[in-house]
């Protein structure tokens, strides 16, 4: 059977040996191969249950506003659009937009906010005319005198701009979203980041509720299987691309292409068998490893209802779509170009997704994520809340992977019929262009 032959070919390759080593090293180094040190126990009264993020408007609103105002004054906003530090400086137009948001939140006028310049407070005396009706006078002591029409008010160099008491939480969140959009996303004011201003101690009741959820929804083993998938998913989202590239390049290196092209086997059968051979070869050791990891806690929950199928369910549902897309991209671009360019293409997606995933570590999901994250044994409620998004994402990724497989079949068939060249032609074209340039120069 072709599928079995392809599986054997994949399993007995050096790429697969390196993959297996990497899988083991990752599982061991991230401490997800043996969970016996981390047993989930029922909370007891008087224990320290840690802290948690909780959406408490009274904590979030003043802290987030104060942070936004300070960043506005410095015109330097910290953001992590793809998980990495970005120091955003706004243009004058965007700064005005930001001033409008702060004005709505604080009742201080936009002109007052924009006219306030910390860098000028050491001057002897400086008058800034804004629109003819307003004058700012910065004095020796750093204080600022603002005169508007006949009214004169004094503001110290640490002008106190506070959050208006009349702002509702909903209105506040809308303003923060606008601020986040102006900064370019991933700022301290995005919906998820706002929660970072609100850490509270976990109460006994919360701890019990969390435990009961792990007991009823996860049946304990689900929590461990999910945590295993979180770490292993990081490398399983990228390594299959190498295996797929190696499998496809092997024919070319062994000069077997023409021989295979002439065979009776259809392109569909050949490509689909090869594709699923890679997926099965990757998934088999992963499922075994997931069971080895999960079984380390089975004894701790004897007499309790545990889900023995959790490792299988999670590896198939959580990890397999990522494996499928990596293998599909690997095969498609290798058949199309006959080069390992798929590694660069998929590697880039993986790199961006991995870093964007830092913002989703709690178990938040989005539609286009490559590697779902849930970096905790707990947070079952978040998992349940996000389950629909996760399911849609996994189905979408699987669908796209199958589309790539279909495209690979078409490409292979066209090559078989001699209607499609390869990257060699593009490479020759680039070299040819360089040749022409050097000739015309000489």
């Amino acid at each position: 059977m072709l599928l079995v032959k392809e599986i054997k070919k994949t399993l007995f390759s050096i790429t697969f040996v390196v993959f297996m080593t990497a899988l083991l090293v990752m599982a061991v180094s991230q401490d997800v191969i043996d969970f016996s040190y981390d047993i989930i126990t029922e909370p007891k009264l008087g224990e320290d249950y840690g802290i948690q993020q909780k959406e408490i408007p009274e904590l979030i609103m003043p802290a987030a506003f104060s942070s936004l105002y300070n960043e506005f004054i410095a015109n330097e906003y910290i953001a992590y659009p793809i998980g990495f530090y970005k120091n955003v400086k706004l243009s004058e137009a965007d700064r005005e937009k930001m001033a409008e948001i702060i004005s709505v939140l604080s009742d201080v006028s936009v002109d007052d906010l924009l006219g306030y310049d910390v860098s000028s407070n050491t001057q002897d005396k400086m008058v800034i005319t804004l629109d003819g009706s307003q004058n700012y006078a910065v004095q020796e002591d750093g204080s600022i005198i603002i005169s508007k029409d006949d009214e004169v008010s004094e503001i110290k160099d640490n002008m106190e701009v506070t959050l208006s008491a009349e702002i509702s939480y909903e209105e506040f969140k809308k303003c923060m979203k606008r601020a986040d959009d102006i900064i370019g996303g991933g700022s301290n004011y995005s919906e998820d980041s706002l929660l970072r201003y609100s850490y509270v101690a976990v109460t006994y009741e919360d701890a019990v509720k969390s435990y009961q959820l792990i007991e009823s929804a996860d049946k304990f083993t689900g929590a461990y299987a999910r945590f295993f998938c979180d770490y292993v998913g990081v490398i399983l989202s990228v390594l299959p691309v190498f295996i797929a590239v190696a499998v496809c390049l092997k024919d070319r290196r062994a000069k077997m292409n023409d021989l295979i092209y002439a065979r009776k086997t259809s392109s569909f059968r050949l490509m689909v068998s090869r594709y699923f051979a890679v997926v099965i070869a990757v998934m088999l050791p992963t499922v075994i490893l997931a069971y080895i990891s999960n079984s380390t806690v089975w004894g701790e929950y004897s007499g309790m209802s545990i889900d023995y199928l959790a490792p299988l369910k999670y590896t198939i549902g959580w990890l397999m779509p990522s494996v499928m897309i990596a293998a599909a991209i690997g095969m498609f671009f290798t058949e199309l170009t006959e080069t390992p360019i798929a590694i660069a293409i998929h590697g880039l997606w993986w790199f961006i997704d991995l870093n964007a995933g830092v913002n989703r570590l709690r178990g938040i999901h989005n539609l286009f994520e490559l590697t779902p994250r849930h970096n905790s044994l707990r947070n079952t409620q978040i998992f349940l809340d996000e389950f629909n998004t996760l399911t849609t994402n996994r189905l979408l990724i699987t669908g796209v992977a199958l589309l790539f497989v279909a495209a690979t079949v078409i490409v292979y068939e066209q090559k078989r019929r001699g209607k499609l060249g390869s990257y060699g032609k593009i490479k020759n074209y680039i070299a040819g262009m360089a040749n022409r340039k050097s000739k015309s120069a000489s």
Binding site: M26, V234, L348
Partner: protein, 216 residues
């Protein structure tokens, strides 16, 4: 007379290789460089923050430019052709290594100048450290390529090293790829020296294989 003939030979080998092997790789490296300011902040960073884009993305240029050095000869027809030539293949490999390292140095410097223009605090240590990171990643891939003659595995090893550094950097000591983000430049000396050692060993291993192949 003999010297000028050698210079001409080196230049001709370099010219052909640059055109046919290096140019597409250089284009890919430039794409990575262009993407870096889009993905990372590259404005007004102090040396610690500036190390982030340099260590995390610019260092990957080393994998792109150094790992495929032995790739053309992995095609049997090209290997037969090279083996039949008077010029020693080690000579060709060394020329490729030299222009690839020059490529890494130039690209890192161009990107560093770009960051300086946008108000980042870029020091000589930071530039040197980035070059060392890039060379080390490329060198371990090149070494793997010499041992296995397998392109995907050759790219896989530096990527795995990169991932393990991300997840357990504290355990890598003097071989930590991302130490400059913590203002520690000491590991970069180790990385640089090791990269030279890996490159030399890789070229020697390849030379050994080529000799064996010629004898067969």
């Amino acid at each position: 007379m003999g010297k000028s003939k050698t210079t001409l030979q080196v230049w001709q080998i370099a010219k052909v290789n640059l055109r046919h092997n290096f140019l597409p790789l250089l284009l890919l490296a430039v794409v990575i460089m262009i993407l870096t300011p889009i993905l990372f902040g590259t404005t007004g960073l102090d040396s610690k923050a500036a190390a982030v884009p340099l260590e995390m993305l610019i260092s990957i240029i080393g994998i792109i430019l150094l790992v495929p050095i032995f790739q053309p000869e992995q095609d049997e027809e090209i290997r037969d052709l090279v083996a039949s030539k008077y010029v020693d293949s080690t000579y060709v490999h060394l020329i490729r290594v030299i222009y690839s390292i020059i490529g890494i140095v130039l690209l890192v410097m161009v990107f560093s100048i770009f960051m300086i223009m946008f108000g980042c605090e870029i020091t000589i240590e930071l530039i040197g450290g980035t070059i060392a990171d890039a060379m080390f990643l490329g060198a371990i891939g090149l070494f793997t390529s010499a041992v296995t003659s397998n392109a995907p595995v050759s790219f896989m090893i530096p990527l795995l090293y990169y991932v393990l550094n991300l997840t357990m950097k504290s355990r890598f000591g003097n071989f930590n790829l991302f130490s400059m983000m913590s203002s520690d430049y000491h590991p970069n000396i180790w990385l640089f020296v090791s990269s030279i050692a890996f490159i030399v060993i890789a070229v020697l291993i390849k030379r050994g294989f080529d000799k064996k192949y010629r004898l067969v």
